[in-house]
Structure formats: C-alpha cells, structure tokens
Amino acid sequence: MWPDPNLKVATLVSVGQHPKSGRARRAEQDARAVELGLKMAGTRSRLVNVGAGDETGLRQYLGMGLPELMQVKAGTEADAVPALVEHLKTHPTDIVLTGIRAEQGEASGMVPYLLGEQLGWPVVSRIADIQKIEDGKADVLQALPRGQRRLLRVPLPFIATVDNAAPEARQYAYGPARRGQLAETNGTAIVDEARLEWQETPAKPRPKRLNVVKAKSAADRFKAATAKPQGQGGQVIRDGTDREKAEAIMELLISEGVVR
C-alpha cells in the first residue's frame, strides 16, 4: 500500500545541530519525519523549511533522495508559523509531519500546535508510525515511554510530531544532496519581537540534585555522612544455593519495579 502516490505529505524540517560539536546538520527527529514521509508518499513527499537555514544542514535532507526542498525565505529572526500557515493553506496537504522539538534556538516545540490551532487540524504528538489510511482516517501508532505503543485514529488532514521511536532516518548521500534543488520562495516574514529581548547563553550545567538528608538527630546525620556511597562496588554473593542467588536477583528486580 505504501507509498501512496495520491497522499500529500509535507514534512517541516529545520536545521539541527550536533549535541557535542554544535555543527549544523539535519535534525534527528525531523529526519525521522522525512523518513516516514518517504515511506508514505515516496519522493513525492514535500520538504518545507522556513528561515535562512544553513545550506549544508538542509542539503542533508535532500541527500535522503528527495529531489526538492521548498525553502520559504524569512529572516533568522522571523516567526515560522505565519509563513507555514500560508504555505499549508496554498498547498493541499493531508499529513504534516515534523519533529517534536527543534535542535536549535528556543526549541519550544510549539510550531505544530500553533499550526493545528490556526488551521483547525488535529495534532497528534510523538508518533512512531502511520499504519494505514482508510476512509480519510489514519491509524497512527503513538510512542509511549519505554517502548510502549498506543494506536490512535485521526481524520485527515492532521499534524503529527515524530518521536525518536520512529524508524531511523536513512543515510544521506553526497550525490543526491548535491543534486537536489533548494527552491526558494518568499513568505510572510513577521519578526519575532518578543524573542529579540531574550538573551541566549551557552547552557549552564545544572547541578545534580543531591540526596538531601534532613536529619532529625545526630545519629541520622552520622549515618548520612558515613553511608557507603552508591556505585562503589556492589554486593557480591559468592556462597549459597542457586535458589538463594536467584532470589537476591529477583528481589532487586522487584524493588526496581521492572518485574511486576
């Protein structure tokens, strides 16, 4: 059934950054969204980017084998939502896919919700897959923490954010990335005034929360101060029957809540 040539899928992509080097790249969740788009609509699925994004980053999406990326030109300080609303109103679309959060900037993850609100389309968050589309409704697999899944049914058109549990994005290749077209159009560029007043600084490391002991007595304080810190070598059971050893393990599994 996939890819469906009549299905109109648009993937909203942004330029990501590598968490260690900060170098521009395709954003991981957006790339998974592109992968899902490729699965559903093949190379006819559209790529849309708003802004003046870094070209190497955007070309990595093209390197996944798509012929064109529509870049709605707007300044780096512009708000992406009006431009996207305009684009989606003028280009018929059944499914809008995007990542949960951007890898750069404010990364509020609000774009899909604002689009949903302004277009009146339902928003489904954190999907892992789209299983089928029947009678104008899509069966969407939503990702829950720890590998769990939930099945949702949503009418088209809708907006979905793609979770890290979705299939991994294919490798991007140099050849298609070089050949792909970056089609530029001009869109509504409204400067995001509010953000201009904010300050962006390199992330300050957050202090790890310590296990604060509110000791009521000297004995408690003493205990807290002298207790063996965790991770300094664990308990080793050498003797005893297999049964006893298994019980010790089982106890830990139960206390950690992984065996219910």
Binding site: S21, Q171, Y172, A173, Y174, G175
Partner: protein
C-alpha cells in the same frame, strides 16, 4: 605436400581471428572511462615489467615460475619464428634450430603445467583452464615434430608415405587445436586471453609507480563534481577493465584473502571474474573456481551498462573486504582489487547512501564531529590531561609533530599513546601535538567510500598543518600514517611521516633511549597491513624487538604475507557476517608458534586481537613493550648536569 598450403592458411586464419578478437576486446575496454597513459613509454617498458616486476611475484613459487618461463618464453619465441618459417616460407637453419629449441622448451613447460593440472589445488579455476595444458602440449609438440620433419635434419623418407600421411593428419589436428587455443582463444576470451590482456595491462597499468621496486598504495581521489564512484562496469577507467581481463585465475588472491578464509562472501578472484562478465556481458555460469562463500555460482549476470550491485555482485561482497591488500600483493598480474572494490563502495555510499550497519552512523559522526565515535571534538586532549603535552598552537614549531589520531577517545588505545609519550619524554624529543585542532585522518571515511568526507577532512588537516613548522610527523596509527603519507599528496599535503615503530627504532639506534631486556616469554610480531604491505615497513618493528632482546618467533604468515586482523577498511563497522572471525584466525596463527605475547604496532589490530576470547596470547603494542623496557635515567642525567656546576664551585 598438404601442409604447404594448409599450414599458412591455418596460421593466417588464426592470426586474423586473433586480430579481430583483439580489436573487439580492445573496444570492450574502451567502453571504460578515459585515463591518460603513456602509450609508447608504456609499451617500451612492458617487457621489463614482465620480466622483472611480474617475475618477482611469480618467483615466490619457484616451480611455477620456471614452468611459466619455459612455457611462455617458448611460446613467444616459437610464434616469432613460426611466422617467418611457415607463413613466409623462409628456410634457414638459423630459424629452424631455434624454433626446435623454443618448442621443446615450451613442451617441457607444458608438461609441468599438465602435471599441476592433474591434481590442482582448490584455488585454481577449472573449466577451460583444464584443457589449456593439453593444447599447449599439442601446439609445441606438433610444431616441434613438423619443424623436425621439414628442417631436413632427419634422413629422407624417414617415415614412408603412409607414415607421412598419418603423421600429417596428427600434426594437423595438433596444430589446429594448438593454434585455436593459443591465438584464436587469446583474442576471444579463452584462457590465453591473459597473455594478450596481461601484456597490455602491464604496459598501461594505472599505477606505473609499482614497477621498478616502487610502491603505490594510496587510493585515487574522486572528482566530486563528476561521477561518484563506479555504478556500472563502464564507469571503471578503461585500464582498470583491461586489468580485470588480465586475470589468470591462479587463485593466489583467494588463498590469502582473510575475508574468504573467514567465510565472508568475498573471493577476490571471483570478484575480478565478475567484473570480466560485466565488461563483456553475460553470466558467470562458465566460472569454474571457488564461489563467494555461501553464494551460488551462475546467478550473476551483467553488462557494461547495467548496475553492478545486485545483479552482478552483492553489496555484502564489497563490504567484506578489509582492504588489507594481501590479494594485490600476491597477484602475479598486478591487478588492483582494492581500488576496484573501493570504487564500487564509493557509488554505494555517495550515491545510494547504503553503507551497511554502523557505516552511516560513523560517517555521520565524522561529518559532525570529525571523529568516528561522535565524541565532543573539544575533548580530544582529555586522555592527556595529566601529561602536560606541548601544543602546536603554543609552540608554533617543533621537531616532531605527534599525530595522536582517534585513539585518543578509546581507553585501550590511550595506553599505547601514553606509552609512546613516555618514550618521547625519555628521549627528550622536541615534540608537540595538535590537540583539539586535529581531525580524523579520513582513513575510515575513504575506505567506506565517502571520499567527500575524506577530502574535507584531509583539506582541513592540511590547512591546520600548514600553520606550523615541524620536520616530521610521527603517529602510532598506521592508518593515519598511510593516509597522511600517501593520500594527502593529492591535496597538496606533502610531509615526512614516520610510524612510531620506525621513529622509536631511530631513537634506539641513535642511543637516545636505553632499553632493558624483555623478560616475558615467546613473542611473535603481527605486521599491520597499513604498515607493512601499504608502506613496506617490515624491518623497524623487528629491529626494535631485537633491541629489546626479543627473538621474534615468526608466524607462518608474516611480513608481506601477514594475515589481516580484520580491522581495516571499515570492516568492523560494516560487519558482514562470516563463519569465523578474522581476528580469531590470526590469534590461532600466533598460538601455532606458541606465542605468549603478540607484539603489534597498530591500535586497530590491538582492538581486534584483544577482542578474541581469552585465554589467548597477550596483545602489546611496540610502544608499550618499549615503554616497559625503558631504562629510566632520570636519576643519572640530573647529577650529570649538576656535577660540573659543583666542580666549578670547588
């Protein structure tokens, strides 16, 4: 006599067919991409390349070498004489006696060929190759007899009329079959094709530097604005196609290929034959040698304009190669298997984006962080936080630039790096490192076919290196050594690069470090491919071990025949399953000589060999062995320096 007109006709027909076939074959090669070669100089150099360079390789098997000299030499000489004698009817003892000698030599050689074919080793191809010795015998025997009869060396009417007719008939059959194999078959894809294609291959070899004792192992760069790698046979350079046709299917490559031995789906010989199928069109049904392990023969088909991968060759075959160059080293025809494999990988990676397994992730990391593990590029010096290494950025100038390589992120390799630093310090070498300015050398990216990433890394590193003054680069990583030494030149980076084994050996020879005797047990030495076969450094590591008082007990496969550890060419990344692991086989080699320690000179080899389940010999890098054996004179130089001062006071 019947033969008087029939023989010249046969000869002319065979020669004409040879010419037609040869032109046809040449046109097949010309379907490939243009590559400039020196036509005249190449042809002029060909006899020497054949007689000297090729025979260097063939001579590793003495019997076969002599057999080939007799057969091939006899054939060439007899053909040169047969044409004047039987085509132009020149009668002269000056021609016939040498012709007799030539055919006799060829006959003798052919007997040895025949004997070998009676019980051929597995690596040899069967099929048409099995009939070759018979036709060689027929050709040489017939012409010998014919010449003997017509030369007037025998008394008149030696055989009588009937005997003459019978003999004539036999001779005709022999001559016809011999000519059809040796001339017709040469032009039309028979086993003798190797002589014709091989001679031209030697003349127009893509790496002429290899002849005359030279070495050329660096990969050729991709023009990133042109075709990216090889998708179809026609995308190879024309002289690469020619090279494939030169294959004699002797299977020496197969016998040394670590991937083949491990049961991975690669057989270098079959690969080259598949390329021949690709350039000529057809299927591999006629292939009569060992298959790719686990793959059936007869299913592959191709033509010059059909994609190679999935059709002619499975991608897994290409990704099984460790680029150890053992096949290239062994090939008597000097065929460049590794170049071809990397060319095809380039297409898979750069155009299809289908680098298998961890390949995509590694390339992604290299692009985003300049190291294959995706570590913070600003943490390159964390391993040496306590070592206080001088930075090039601070010093600007140093005698030695220590190229740390990506081993800095790996906990095991860090031990090697630290050992080497202790040696540098003990010898008071004026050195510095690039620190966070260093990037991956690009070795893995290039072997995985991503020449775009390789080139950007190489250019970046060259730009960094150009800022500083240093005499030489020393590295503990043979892969970085090879790439900087042999592959950066194409991008304007020319340096004197030394591997740490060479450099430490120099220090020992100059007496800058003193070594204690090694107190362990039996030691063997594993030659890293990228140090040995790629760069010809076999002696320094051994000299160094000798300086430690170690008598290396050599494994059966050592030196230029060393077996790969399985870690090259991105093989651990692409990780194509086989029946065995290459590293296990290598450790078995060491066990056979009862080694307690395997001395290595490469962090990749260390990682691979240490991945073998214990109990196994201990794996130690040369730097670690030397660092352990360093006679620390810290106490002596101190007083030595202060003593004169004390004396002055007196």
């Amino acid at each position: 006599m019947l033969l008087d007109w029939l023989l010249p006709t046969l000869l002319i027909a065979a020669l004409a067919l040879l010419a037609i076939g040869a032109i046809r074959r040449i046109n097949l090669w010309r379907a490939g991409q243009p590559e400039a070669v020196k036509l005249i100089a190449g042809l002029m150099a060909m006899p020497r390349r054949y007689l000297v360079d090729l025979h260097h390789v063939v001579e590793r098997d003495k019997v076969m070498s002599n057999t080939h000299v007799a057969t091939a030499g006899g054939f060439v000489l007899s053909m040169l004489l047969i044409i004047p004698v039987y085509l132009f009817g020149l009668e002269s003892r000056w021609l016939t006696i040498p012709l007799l000698i030539a055919t006799a030599a060829m006959f003798t050689g052919a007997i040895f060929v025949y004997r070998r074919r009676r019980n051929p080793p597995a690596r040899l191809s069967k099929g048409p190759w099995m009939r070759l010795p018979k036709n060689l015998l027929a050709f040489s025997g017939s012409f010998f007899l014919l010449t003997l009869l017509t030369s007037g060396l025998l008394p008149e009417n030696f055989l009588g009329v009937w005997g003459g007719w019978v003999l004539t008939a036999i001779l005709l059959v022999g001559i016809a079959s011999g000519l059809s194999e040796l001339l017709f078959g040469m032009g039309w894809g028979g086993p003798m094709k190797h002589a014709f294609a091989g001679a031209l291959h030697l003349a127009f070899h893509r790496r002429p530097e290899r002849f005359g004792g030279g070495r050329s192992t660096g990969l050729k760069p991709v023009n990133l604005d042109g075709a990216l790698g090889v998708a179809e046979p026609k995308d190879f350079k024309w002289n690469q196609l020619l090279g494939f046709d030169a294959c004699v299917q002797c299977g020496r490559c197969e016998a040394v290929c670590p991937a083949f031995a491990a049961g991975q789906p690669l057989n270098p010989k079959k690969l080259i034959q598949d390329m021949v199928v690709g350039l000529a069109g057809g299927t591999d049904a006629n292939y009569a040698g060992s298959p790719y392990p686990g793959t059936e023969v007869g299913k592959a088909h191709g033509n010059p304009h059909q994609p190679i991968v999935d059709g002619l060759v499975n991608a897994d075959t290409l990704w099984s190669c460790t680029t150890c160059r053992a096949c290239v080293e062994e090939c008597p025809m000097m065929i460049e298997h590794v170049d071809a494999i990397v060319d095809m990988r380039r297409h898979i990676t750069l155009e299809r984006g289908e680098t298998p397994n961890k390949g995509a992730e590694v390339l992604d990391n290299l692009i985003a962080t300049d190291n294959p593990g995706g570590y913070d590029p600003g943490s390159r010096m964390n391993w040496a936080a306590d070592l206080d290494l001088p930075l090039m950025a601070d010093k600007q100038e140093a005698e030695v630039l220590f190229w740390v390589s990506d081993g800095c992120f790996d906990m095991r390799s860090q031990r090697i790096l630290r050992a080497f630093v202790s040696i540098l310090k003990a010898a008071n070498v004026d050195f510095a490192v690039l620190g966070n300015e260093e990037c991956d050398s690009g070795d893995v990216a290039r072997r995985l076919g991503d020449d775009a990433t390789f080139q950007s890394l190489a250019k970046h590193n060259i730009a960094t290196l150009s800022q500083y003054r240093f005499k030489r680069i020393v590295t503990t990583d043979p892969h970085a050594f090879h790439v900087i030494n042999n592959e950066y030149g194409d991008f304007g980076g020319h340096y004197e690069v030394l591997h740490h084994s060479t450099f430490i050996n120099e220090l020992v020879e100059q007496g800058r470090i003193q070594l204690d005797r090694f107190k362990g047990g039996t030691v063997t030495y594993h030659d890293p491919c990228y140090l040995g076969r790629y760069n010809g450094e076999y002696e320094s590591p051994r000299a160094l071990l000798k300086a430690l008082g170690i008598e290396v007990s050599e494994m059966e496969r050592s030196g230029y025949r060393s077996r790969c550890c399985g870690g090259g060419g991105g093989a651990p990344i692409t990780d194509i399953p086989g029946e065995h692991r290459i590293a296990d086989m290598r450790v078995d080699d060491a066990r056979q000589v009862d080694a307690e320690t395997i001395a290595v000179a490469c962090q990749q080899c260390t990682a691979m060999l240490e991945g073998v389940v214990e109990p196994r010999p201990e794996i130690r890098d040369l730097a670690e062995l030397v660092a352990d054996g360093l006679v620390v004179e810290a106490a002596e130089p101190g007083p030595a320096k202060t003593r004169p001062a004390v004396e002055e006071v007196h």
